[in-house]
């Protein structure tokens, strides 16, 4: 039996299929669901990475790993990503994280910025019918989500580990 395709990859495939559905005159429902699936892919990617960080790769797809993934919240992911994406990082991070990093690379700042943009677009796509979402927006979302997943392993290990701990513990440590 083969290895199952990771859930975040399934969501990226789903987004691509929705965007290929009607190349000339796309249904808003397809464009919106594609934008939404692109963000969801990133969210679940981080839930899985978090599980690997906390319980190890071998247990990440066990019940314990899924339990860790369930702890990830959209608000914490966003709050941490906003701070990491700023020119002020890492000095703008909650105190316990400041000494974990001497700098945040431009590549990591861009990745963090993409997380926030994807979440905002997903919110608009899911709930704001007043805006006519262009297929271009969903294509940008999909392309950013794909790049993020692809680029993540190549980024600095300390940045990645600090970010993962930050998104898990943000609520507890944000005010310190």
């Amino acid at each position: 039996m083969g290895v199952p395709v990771p859930y975040h990859e399934q969501l990226l495939v789903q987004a691509a299929k929705l965007l290929a559905e009607d190349p000339k005159r796309p249904y808003q429902a397809n464009v919106r669901r594609a934008a939404s699936a692109s963000y969801d892919a990133v969210f679940h990617f981080f839930a899985d990475e978090l599980a690997k960080q906390v319980v190890g790769a071998s247990a990440a797809t066990d019940s314990l790993g899924f339990a860790v993934g369930r702890a990830l919240e959209h608000g914490s992911l966003r709050a941490a990503a906003e701070r990491f994406s700023s020119q002020g990082a890492p000095a703008n991070l909650p105190l316990p994280f400041r000494s974990c990093l001497t700098r945040v690379s431009p590549e990591f700042r861009a990745l963090a910025s993409d997380i926030v943009s994807l979440q905002d677009l997903r919110h608009r796509a899911d709930y704001d019918r007043a805006i006519h979402l262009q297929k271009r927006e969903a294509n940008v979302a999909l392309s950013r989500a794909e790049s993020l997943v692809q680029d993540w392993p190549r980024l600095d290990t300390d940045e990645r580990r600090t970010f993962l701990v930050a998104i898990l513990l943000w609520k507890s440590l944000a005010g310190r």
Binding site: Q28, H74, E82, S86, S113, L121, Q134, R136, E137
Partner: protein, 103 residues
């Protein structure tokens, strides 16, 4: 005791002039609109609409050019001291409208 109501001043909406941002080109940016909106977590963000003169089919197919524009806009807002996060949308004159949806 005199109670002074707290008045929170609404931050002004920043103006972004494409000529002053040093945007990478192509594609050419005609103008940029900035409007406040409520973001995914209920905070105020900025909806930034970048109006492009046009896009080639190659530019529609490979949207990497958006990265440079987004970085410049984010950096410009931060340097203005505006911490609201931008949601950046791109529009061309030939974009679809609600009327162009399939029936």
């Amino acid at each position: 005791m005199l109670v002074v109501p707290m008045i929170h001043k609404r931050p002004e909406t920043p103006k972004l002039d494409p000529k002053k941002l040093g945007l990478p080109s192509p594609p050419a940016v005609k103008s940029i609109d900035v409007n406040p909106f409520v973001n995914a977590v209920g905070e105020e963000g900025l909806e930034v609409t970048v109006h492009l003169t046009n896009l080639t089919s190659e530019q529609e197919g490979n949207l990497d050019w958006t990265k440079g524009i987004e970085k410049r806009i984010r950096d410009a807002l931060e340097s203005m001291g505006d911490e609201r996060f931008p949601l950046i949308l791109y529009r061309t004159p030939s974009d679809e409208t609600p009327a162009s949806e399939p029936e």
